[in-house]
């Protein structure tokens, strides 16, 4: 993850923590965020798969990690770091993970 990316996330988190409640409430109203939490209007069934963000305490590191592979306790999902990418001068639709100029 790039330094710039980290800074963006850090800034957003900082703003959220420090924002006065009045300002937060105002923003929620202005941007219509309060209505976004109606839980009945789902378009997907939830029996297919789960997306779960683990809490910090749920995370543990394997002693013998493989490319940053982490495993989480039940209810969470395992995931892996991005694969290495090969550079290519030309974008090739038949190859994954190529760097190239977009059309």
């Amino acid at each position: 993850m790039s330094t710039e990316s980290i800074k963006i996330l850090q800034n957003c988190l900082k703003k959220l923590k420090e924002m006065p409640q009045e300002e937060f409430d105002k923003m929620v109203n202005e941007k219509g965020l309060g209505e976004a939490f109606e839980e009945d209007d789902s378009v997907y069934e939830d029996d297919d798969f789960t997306l779960i963000l683990p809490e910090k305490d749920d995370v543990f590191t394997l002693e013998s990690s493989w490319g940053g592979c982490f495993s989480f306790n039940s209810g969470c999902l395992p995931y892996f770091f991005s694969e290495s990418k090969n550079e290519s001068k030309k974008l090739d639709l038949n190859k994954q993970n190529n760097y190239g100029l977009a059309a």
Binding site: L9, L13, F24, Y44, L62, F80, L91, L93, A102
Partner: protein, 178 residues
């Protein structure tokens, strides 16, 4: 050099053809996954899986698969633990401040709300990546026999493209199968 992956999107014949011919972005109004955006699988097998699921549930019969280059130069990678920790903390604080009862609101709604709240988040990240754990997927014999409980085939990688200019050179990849 712009990093990219090949993504596969499954949808109705009508939507796919309109996307290819007219550029009409197929934006899901999702609330449970990653919120608004066009969803792509990272390999063809997963797109076929999704197509078969739709057919099995009789939600559609005429489905196509689109292949496209998904540009990931503005990627919010939720498989990256460092990113995850920031987003998760934001999620917790946001939900506690807005309404304690909404802490368990669907993930997609929370992410959409965070993107709406922070302009820099919205402007910096055009694609999101996450892994989904498919509990019903049978474990491959390959992993069972190798006796390694840490490796699994139950995980599918999903990309959510939030801006249509991040999915380029799209084409129909498989002909319609009833």
């Amino acid at each position: 050099m712009i990093p990219n992956i090949i993504g596969y999107h499954t949808n109705s014949k009508e939507k796919c053809e309109r996307y290819i011919s007219e550029g009409i972005f197929i934006e899901s109004k999702d609330i449970k996954w990653l919120g608004h955006g066009m969803y792509f699988w990272d390999n063809f097998s997963n797109a076929v899986y999704w197509k078969n699921e739709k057919i099995r549930k009789m939600e559609a019969s005429e489905l196509l698969i689109i292949k496209a280059n998904v540009l990931i130069d503005e990627l919010l990678d939720l498989t990256d633990l460092q990113v995850l920790e920031f987003i998760n903390e934001m999620r917790i604080i946001y939900c506690e401040r807005i309404d304690r009862r909404k802490r368990n609101a669907p993930m997609g709604k929370k992410l959409d709300a965070l993107f709406k709240m922070f302009k820099e988040l919205d402007e910096s990240y055009s694609v999101m990546k996450v892994n989904g754990f498919y509990k019903k997927t049978p474990v491959s014999d390959f992993f069972v026999e190798s006796n390694n409980s840490m490796i699994t085939n139950k995980v599918k990688t999903i990309y959510c493209v939030r801006r249509k200019e991040k999915a380029v050179e799209a084409e129909i990849f498989e002909k319609e199968v009833a």
